[in-house]
Amino acid sequence: MPENYFDHAAACPLMPEAFEAMKPFLTDRFGNPHSIHSFGTEPVKALEQAREQIARFINAPTTSIVFTASASESNNLALKGLARAREKEGRHIVISAIEHQSVLKSAHALERLGFEVTEVKVDEHGIVHPKELEKAIRPDTILVSVQHASNEIGTIQPLAELAQLSHQHTALIHSDGTAATGRIPVDVTRLGVDSYAFSAQSFYGPKGAAALYLKTGTRPVPLIEGGVQEKGYRAGTEDIPSIVGMGKAAEVTRSRLAEWSAKMGRLSKRLLTELPRKIDQIVLTGHPEQRLPGHVSLCVEFIEGEAMLLSLDDQGIAAASGSACTARTLKASHVLLAIGLLHAVAQSSLVLTMGKDTTDEDIDHFLAELPPIVDRLRAMSPLYAKFKKGEDPYEARERSFKGGH
């Protein structure tokens, strides 16, 4: 078990309050919330209480929350469900180039069904500019999807502005809020989005519990049919223990977020300031100001991400990377390529995501351990050797890319 956990974007630990709230529903309160008999009473009450807690967390009406099992499912339901619901009005969808795979793949699936998809470029900081979105929108655009913030580079989008623009062109706008929830306050009413996906594990709730916010009147075609649960938007008996845990986690996070957010922001700022002083040739990725608190993303040139992660893990530090070698698909992160990085630079990605319990000591440990790891790996790197000799380290790579196997 690593002593320093910097991968909260992958999973947050379950908060004790949520665990306690879940327990009775894993044991004696096992009933189906849709049962008429008394075993259903407590579960249905708990389900509706959780819905209220979660609605309050994002400032939405209680009736607007649909429970799902993951943010990926929520994104699938929004994209596929809303596109199908509006297909008679148009068959064009606009997404940003840095969406999560669950949005990208849903959009590609829709393409195979005859929809057209336009990807909006982002700038070098990962921002979707309203004027770029406007260029992509057509008279037959029915749906726009832009994430609220990026898990990979931390950039927060001007979502309210993008929502307004989409509506001016009579398109709905969906947003993936997985990275934003638990780090910054979210007010879907003020943002003006039509749907918003998020999951409990972003704010110390259990895995397997997630939600899709649907603005009043927004009606996707369901992906899972066959039951009356969740107003027909998602058939299947609700996972009451997980939903209860999500509700409790939302309630606690809502009351503590200002404090957590300020602390995480201070800690990430420390890293962003101190890392470039300790290590040369690093590229900080994402927006310098419009970024998530507690999120640090960088590229340590000339060395590869997975090698850094393994070395950090040996020192008790857990982190993430967008390098191709860390991905099962063996493709560099499309987000890092979309902000204009060379493949070789994207290979050297490192992503650190802090949580509510991260301390200054964790940061001290990381700042002490990373530089020797970088030195060791750079001493092995042919790219670094070229750089040291004053040669262009990336020119050779471009050549090798053309060669190939």
């Binding site: 997975e306 090698a307 393994l310 040996d314 070698c325 063996l330 560099a332 050779a396």
Partner: protein, 125 residues
Amino acid sequence: MYSEKVMEHFRNPQNVGEIENPDGIGEVGNPVCGDMMTFHVKVEDNILTDVKFKTFGCGAAIAVSSMVSEMAKGKTIEQALKITNADVAKELGGLPPQKLHCSNLGADALHAAIRNYLEKQKGAK
């Protein structure tokens, strides 16, 4: 994810570096995952007396480079050319399926360095 043997070679890779005035240099890159390896060889009486490498890549790529260099050192040119990807992966106690291409890269880089030496020999004659 990795075998103990892989982690051992990743943590303490053998033969890292460059050879001054090498007899052969091989440089290969993988366009799919973006790894890059450079192998230097020294040849005396048809035997690889020294092998050194530099690698930009993941844990598997570094471990593979180290293992290939160990396996090739002291071998004849003919023996070293017969080292296959499968041999390297086997010596490392196996590699995860998505990392098998790293072992291809290691053997390729060594063979490229040897071919570079053989071409130079041909040119000298």
